[in-house]
Amino acid sequence: MEGPAARPHRRRIAAAMGVGGAVAVALALALARAPFELEVAAPPAADVPSAPVAALTAGPASRTEAPRPEAAGVAGAATAAPLPPGIDAAGWRRLEAEMAGRADGAAELARIRAFLLFSDDVRRLRTLNAAADAAGGRASLVPALHDEARILARRIVEALATHVQQREVTAAEAALLHAAAASWLEATPAALDARLAAWSTQQAERASDRAREAQPARDAEARFLAEQQRVVTAWQALPAATREPARLAAELDALRARHFGAPLSSPSPAPPHAPPTGGPR
């Protein structure tokens, strides 16, 4: 089944497939190197190249911060610092202005800058992953691109703990990032396996630490659950004809209000300590 609307799209796809490999290679390189600038910030749209990647040439995986057109910093900030990737000058100025009134403004700007640099590293590694997939495997990449990928991978692994600690990266995201980066750093599948296994063990240990930290919250919920069970058991003991589901729901809501009445909006609790990101090399 295919509706008429599908046909123009198919034509576009066919046209795109006719574009020469050299153009795609150039695109891949441009995507990998250029600082991405969206309206404001953060990772980009599609950056998947398709090319005979052996033709790619690589340069150093240098940071892609752009020179600042002007300095306008928060007090205490490094006002001469270059613009981080993923944000234009106007966007960064607005951010600086927003942070100017905050006591922790300079630290926040530094954190955001570090995150944008990290995101840019991830974006560039993603581009190289896609290039390798498109080429049919990493063996098709020229050595210089392998070198670039390894530099990026090391930087990502080193920075990951901090970004998890700061709740910028979730645990599952961290697992993927760590695996993606580690896959460039280990020479054999067995070594990668061992590294990821060690990492997963360390994560399990961390989970135990966190479980201990979260115990008070769990205790509070356990008290609620015990009371709730008593309410439900009593309701069940009533003759079937007199059990009113709406009444039970109201009673349970009242119980919930007593236990969980106050709303909470807060950052997630930070992990007790930085997650391990290393592992056997």
Binding site: M1, E2, G3, A5, A6, P8, H9, R10, R12, M17, V40, A41, P43, P44, A45, V48, S50, I87, G91, R94, L95, I112, F115, V122, R126, N129, G136, V164, Q166, R167, E168, V169, T170, A171, A172, E173, A175, A179, S183, D193, Q203, A204, R210, E221, Q228, V232, Q236, P245, L248, L252, L255, G261, P263, L264, S265, S266, P267, S268, P269, P271
Partner: protein
Amino acid sequence: MNPLNLLRRLAPLPAPTRAALATIASLAAALAAPSAIAGYFQWETVELPADSGAACGNGTPYRFFVNRAPGTRDLVLVYEGGGACWDQEACLGRGPLSAANPDGIPPDYLMQLNSALFGNVTPFSGRNSPFQAVQTQAWNVVFLPYCTGDVHSGSAVRVYDDSDPANPRVQYHRGQANVRAAAAWLRADLGQPRKLLATGFSAGGVGSTTTYTLVREALEPTGAATLLADSGPLMSAPRGSAPEQSPSIRLHETIRPAWGLDEPGGLVTQFAALPGFDAQDLGTIGPALARRWPEDRFGYLVFRSDTNFSAFSYEKFYDDISGAPNAFVRRQRLFQRWEPDIQSWLALLGAQPNVAWHVAGFRNFNDSHCLTVIDFSGTGIQELGIADIGGFVDAQLDRGTPTRAFETDQSDDYRQPLSWGIRLVKLLLRLFD
């Protein structure tokens, strides 16, 4: 005239709905007050108060997660998937066809590797996917976890004691209240968004569909609004139809009373006055949405070889599937129902010009369930020259031509290579298992 305005004029709101609106107003006011919010690019936990009606399945507080980006008003809502339940064992999370997160959502849910693991990793639910870029990674991101067993759609409290009467399970099927209260919080805290994308996978695909109007009306985006429902099709199953004609009828007849869909304030009553909606057929929700919001885009994704959602749809209702002598026969019997259900579903949706779909064949990952999980590799339709769903997603968001692609030849899918990303996740799943 706005059909929902007409609804409000013609039908006085039932008492529970009035109470819910009052609660939302107070909730919004309470939560508009300054709070200890996280910085840009940091995940913030929001716990909804009990008086909002929001709850996880076991009665503990519903929590969701917000990650803001500077200088943008664009917003993506990601609805988590994770099965469904209408009996005690499944609501306790036991067995292959059960519901996720039976013990609720802890404040550090996103920092856990056990429960959240890879279920929440779609390219839409974070900013730093190492495998897949999407434009919403630069937007404000909201992650709506799933803990109610009702595909984010229920409005009922039930006591299940069918497997262990001495220890009944209270189940708060409060998906609608959770999304409603979260939307109110978002409107009060983040303000009116510009672009809006509601997306979800599996149960989240259903939930993003059933709560689309609720969210759309609460947030009132000033720009393009889009639904991208992945692998959560609301099949057509008119009441009174035979299972041979509408294989999902038994599922629908089970969940409607279990989740309170027909009760005051329930899903069906909310859609009741929408043109194109037939209260006798939940499958008409999709077309009714498209008619209600003609400027919006509605994109649906599914695999023809999905053996997960199809199992939830049929296995507990058809003995020939649950009693199949082997896995091959079981698959065949699932697909004997899944295929006609997909055809009926698309036929209903196809009348609306702002609906698009991408029905691919098979992906050697996660039982061919969910096209947006991890990355988009393996979602292509080779016979149409479509490499993956990336173009579909962009066309939905950028208002390109709505495409309707259906893969007829599935043999190519068994030869398509998986990305490094998927292969690594398979490895990780083995390690974390």
